[in-house]
Point group: C2
Chain length 243, copies 2
C-alpha cells in the first residue's frame, strides 16, 4: 500500500507538498482518478482520489477517513539525550516509531557531550517510519531543552496522572531503582514519560531534581545498554506492557 | 574499563591478536606490568598483567578469572533472515548483543531478496558490542542456511526442551498466532529459538514445515515492524521475560 503524508487538509481536499507530489506523480506515475491513501500525521488515514496530478502539488478528494489508524493503547513521551553519533539517535527514533510512541523531546543533560540536535531530520525519519509501519499519527518532535527544564515542565502538579520514569545507571541508596517492567505492570493509566540519559549518565543533581518532581528511578535490567539501545528497550517495555 | 578479546588463552597466558595488540600498545599505550581485562568470548573475564608489550602480539598472565561475567539467565538463538540493507542487520546484531543473546544463524527464506551474508563483519560487531556492554560471552555466528534446512536441524527430536518460535505476519486459520509475550510467560525452561522472516515474510510452505517441526507461530503485537526491528523486539521480549 502506498501511503502519503499531508498536513494540508481542508474542506474534503488533501494537498501533497512538492516532495510527496513528485514521488506520487513522477516515481509512482499516479494520475487523476487514481486512489491513494494519505495520513494526516494526527492519527487519521484518508482514502482519496486524485483530482489534480501536478508533480508540484497533488490534490486529492477524500473518499473515506479512518480515525486512530495504527494507533496504540498508551501515550508515550520519550525524553532522550542526543547521542554523540547522530545516526544512533535517528535509529532509535525510527525503531520507537515502528513500535509506537507519541512525542519526542531531545533533552540536554549536564553530562551530555552533544548539546544540540537538529529536529528536522528526525521529523522526516518519523514521517517515513510512520508510513512504513502503517500508522497515521506521526510522533511530535519538540525543540531540545535541558534536562532540568524538562523536569520542571513535568513536575508533579503539571502531570498528575502521568507515570514519569527516569532510567539511570548509578545506584542511589536514598532512591533505589526498580525494574521498569515491574513499575509498568503496577501502573493502571496510559500516559507515560520516560527520560533516558546521555552516554555519561544523568548527574546526581538531575536525578535529585527528577525525584522531587515525581519521577520514579528505574533500571532496564542487568545489561549495560547504549543510550539509543536503552531508549528502544524502554519503548519495547511499554509496547509489551500493553500487548 | 578497557576490555580486550582473545581466544588464544593457554597455560595461564592470554595472547592478543595483532589488532587488539595494536590498540592496547599503540593507542592506549599500555606497557609491561599494566593490568588489563580480557574476555575469552565464551563467558569468562580474565584480569591479567601484561608480560610482553609488543604491538604485534601482547602476552598477559592471568591474575584472576571471573566465569559467567555479564551472563543472562536464558539461552537465546536468533535465526534471522538477512535484510536487504546490511547495515540494518548489523544494527540488530549489535542491539541484540547489548541486551543478551547467544547464537545467530542467518537464514535464507524463499522470499528473501538477499541470499548471502558475510558473517565476518557481524562477528566483529558482536565482539565489539560484547566488550562495550560488559559481557564475556560473544554470541556465536553460524554460516547461513536455508529456512527449511534450519527447521530440519531443529525439528522436534533434536530440541526436545527448547521453546521454538516463528514470527510471521500472515494469518493462518489452522495455526492462529499467539502473542510472543504470552508464549514466553508460559515457558518454564531457558532454551529459546526465534525465527524472524525476510521483508517478504516466510512462505506458507516454510510456515507449515516449521509447525510440523514443533515451532510455535507468534506475533509481536499489532505494529508492522521491519525485519531488524522485529528481531530486536523479539530479543527484548525474552530479555524482559527473565528480568
Amino acid at each position: 500500500m502506498e501511503i502519503f503524508f499531508s498536513r494540508d487538509i481542508d474542506g474534503g481536499i488533501c494537498r501533497l507538498d512538492q516532495d510527496e507530489s513528485g514521488h506520487c506523480i513522477k516515481v509512482l506515475r499516479h494520475r487523476c482518478m487514481d486512489e491513494i491513501s494519505i495520513i494526516d500525521g494526527s492519527g487519521t488515514l484518508h482514502r482519496c482520489r486524485i483530482i489534480s496530478d501536478s508533480h508540484k502539488g497533488v490534490e486529492a478528494e477524500i473518499l473515506e477517513s479512518v480515525p486512530d489508524w495504527g494507533g496504540h493503547p498508551y501515550r508515550l513521551h520519550m525524553a532522550v539525550c542526543p547521542t554523540k553519533n547522530n545516526d544512533r539517535y535517528e535509529w532509535f527514533a525510527e525503531k520507537a516509531c515502528e513500535m509506537g510512541f507519541d512525542e519526542l523531546t531531545p533533552v540536554i543533560g549536564e553530562h551530555s557531550e552533544r548539546k544540540v540536535l537538529k529536529t528536522q531530520r528526525v521529523e522526516k525519519i518519523l514521517v517515513s517510519a510512520s508510513k512504513q509501519s502503517l500508522k497515521a499519527a506521526v510522533p511530535a518532535v519538540n525543540e531540545p531543552v535541558s534536562v532540568k527544564e524538562f523536569i520542571r515542565l513535568h513536575s508533579g502538579e503539571n502531570d498528575p496522572e502521568t507515570l514519569k520514569l527516569m532510567a539511570y545507571c548509578f545506584e542511589d541508596e536514598k532512591a533505589p531503582r526498580r525494574s521498569i517492567k515491574e513499575v509498568l505492570e503496577g501502573f493502571e493509566g496510559k500516559d507515560i514519560i520516560i527520560m533516558i540519559g546521555p552516554e555519561g549518565d544523568f548527574s546526581r543533581q538531575e536525578a535529585e531534581a527528577a525525584l522531587e518532581a515525581g519521577f520514579i528511578p528505574v533500571h532496564l535490567g542487568p545489561s549495560r545498554l547504549r543510550t539509543e539501545t536503552a531508549a528502544v528497550t524502554a519503548v519495547s517495555a511499554v509496547y509489551f506492557r500493553y500487548l
